[in-house]
Structures are given as C-alpha cells and as structure tokens.
Symmetry: C2
Subunit: 197 residues, 2 copies
DNA sequence: AAGTGTTGCTAACATGTGTTAGTTGTTTTA
DNA sequence: TAAAACAACTAACACATGTTAGCAACACTT
C-alpha cells in the first residue's frame, strides 16, 4: 500500500490539488476523470476521497486561490502612489508572471470556471466582474490624465487579459524565447498600444 | 412526429451543426450531451444519427470550416500588394469580424479543438501552427521594413489572436458598445502596439 | 394510390462516471 | 506495545453517456 508522498508542509490534499491542476489543464475539467487523477497521484480513485470532498471541490480550490491572488494585487495597486499607466504596467507584469510561474492553476481558473456549481459559480463571476471594473477604472483615470489614449476602457481590459492568456501557447511551444524576453515583448506591445503618443 | 424545420438550402444536418455550435460554446464539448443537443433541435437523441455520424463529427465540421476560412484569408493577404502593417490590420479586422459574426463557431473551434480525435487532431494542430507561422512572417517583414517595432513576431501573433478571442466577453456583456466601436478600439490598441513610433 | 427513400420514434446496450460503504493495513500517540 | 487516527484498498451503486437496432410515420415521385 503505497502512500502519497509528502514533503513536510505539503499536505496530501495539496498534492492532489496540484496534480488536478495539471490534469484539468491538459484534458479539461469534464474530460479529466477521478480515475485519471488517481493514477497521476499513484493511488486508487476511492482513496482520493479520504482527502477531498468532491471533484468540484478541487475546482473551487484552484479557481479561488487564483482569484484571491489577483484581488490582493489590485488592492495593492490601487493604493500605490504612481501614475495610472505605471499601475497598468505593474498589473500586467503580475499577470504575466502568474501565467508563467503558476501556469496550470491560472489556466484552469481561466478556462474551466464555467464548471463550478452555485453558489461558487456566481461568487466567482462576481469577483471576475468586479476585478475587471477596477482594472477599467485605473485605465479610465489614465485617459482623463491624458496618459492613455482615448479608448473604451472595458475593451482595453478585455484585450489585456486575453492577450496574456496566450502565454499558454508559449508554454507548449518547443522553441521558446526566455520568460524575461516574453515579458518584455508583451509589455512593449500592450503598453505601447495604450500610451498616448 | 415533429420534423426538424429547414428553410431551402439549409440541410437538416446544417441545423444540427449550428445548434451544436451554440451548445458546445455554452457548456463545452464534453459537458454538452447528445440529449441536450436533441432537445435544442426538438427531436430525440437517436434521431440525430440519421443526419450525422457521431458527436465528434460535429466538432470536425465546426473546427475545419473555421480553419478553412482563415486559411483562405491569409492566402489572399499574402498576395495583396500593400504594406505589412496594412496586411496585419486587415487580417485583424477579419478576425474581429469573424468573432463578431460567427461567434459560436469560432469560439468552439478555438477552445474545444483539443477534443478532436486523430487524425483530425494532428491535422488541425498542423494548420494552426502553419497559420501562425505565416502570420508571424508578415510581421517579420514589417519589422525588416521598419514599419513595425522590433519585437518577437511569434509573441506578437500570440497576443493578437488571443486578444481577439476576448470578444467572447463582449458578446456576453449586457452594456455593450457597438460592433463598429469594438472593432475600432481593438485595432487602435493592437495596431498601436505594433507600429514603429 | 402505390411505392420508396427519408426521418422520426422507442428500447436498449455497453461503457464510463463520481461517489459511498466497509475493511484492511500503516502511522502516530499515549 | 496497545489504542487511536489516518490513509489505503476492493466492491459496488446509481446514473449519464454515445450509439445501434428495429420499427413506424411521413414526404415525394411516378
């Protein structure tokens, strides 16, 4: 009876959640079965239920841990005393690095949240809506200050967020540029598309 | 026994494919069942099989009809005698309009192609890879001509394509700006992020 | 009106799914 | 070392899934 290996400070549940992120990313939430997950973890499917309540619980954990990180970051951003365009750039860099370093989690949260069940679903959608509004508000301030082009702020947010999710393709590509180059290129194009002049 | 309604020139299969696009978009390919689809079409699940071979056939049809449209467009673009940046802009406008007018199909093709089965899967992935290379080649020419900033072309392609898929959120938003405004805003930001100066 | 192909129905199957019950083995605690 | 807690196992259930077989109703041609 081979137990799930754990280093200290990493619970067996964490191991499962991490493997679940990789699996959900690869196959999609619906297509990934608990038996697949069990195999990845090295255990029988039923054994997983000693550590988790349900398959969807795994999705909750992933979605909300990501959502919380972004919420904290935008809290932080709003209080900083820098120009709007710098706020946007910092936020973008955070998004980019999250996508680079916590690829599977962020990707799953982004693509698979539809499969959450209420009340988690509405909760998540709310957070998402609020986050985007706050992001748009930063851009609108920038427009009023003439730092940023006259554009529709919600559209700009939409472009930024989705553009960053393209890092998915970078991850899977064989001949990648370095993470640093990727970040700089993205910032050049995205911030370049916003700034006035 | 209520038949599937068809206007002339629209086969019953086309009706099914169209409803499938809407359903796959809403729930995802895996989560959408043939019984769901049957209900949307107004018929029993088994009856669908008088018109189609399998569930995945529906996905093939959707994915490849979209892929073909983009392939034809880039063929056309490559032969036009205009500057690289204009080619990019035209291509972007095409992407934007496809996403606006054939939302469900394009979205499904973009998000659900993973569930294709070989040989369709490899075929699709190949087409995708080739398309992006050709898009990147246009950008690289623009960089050599100094029309476009010195950036990593594949990264730029990645940003453009994913940014456009953000139109998904526009579709679902309640207080939308018009399609024309959306197009102009996207072009402003995206092309603005590319051009030199 | 008869015949023929088309399109629908019901019933069913085989398989895969998430999950629970009950039990056995393994660690940790006392 | 015995007791208590934990984590694995096997077996099974209830249900949803894609799909097929066989048959009935419809529509169009002659």
């Amino acid at each position: 009876m081979a137990r799930i290996k754990t280093d200290k400070n990493i619970s067996r549940k964490d191991v499962i959640v991490t493997k679940a992120a990789a699996l959900f990313r690869e196959k999609g939430f619906k297509a990934a079965s608990m038996r697949d997950l069990a195999e990845a973890v090295g255990v029988e499917a039923a054994s997983l239920y000693n550590h988790i309540k349900s398959k969807t619980e795994l999705l909750h954990e992933l979605c909300f841990s990501v959502a919380n990180r972004f919420m904290h970051k935008i809290d932080e951003m709003e209080t900083e005393q820098i120009s709007s365009i710098d706020k946007v750039e910092k936020l973008l860099r955070f998004h980019i690095n999250e996508m680079i370093n916590h690829y599977e989690e962020v990707y799953v949260s982004d693509r698979e949240w539809k499969h959450l069940a209420d009340p988690y679903l509405s909760n998540f959608q709310n957070q998402r809506r609020i986050y985007r509004k706050r992001f748009a508000a930063i851009i609108e301030t920038g427009i009023r200050n003439k730092e940023i082009k006259k554009i529709d702020a919600p559209t700009a947010v939409l472009i930024m967020l989705h553009a960053i999710s393209g890092i998915e393709s970078w991850h899977r590509s064989t001949q990648k540029i370095s993470a640093e180059e990727l970040e700089e290129n993205m910032i050049t194009i995205l911030v370049g598309g916003l700034v006035n002049r």
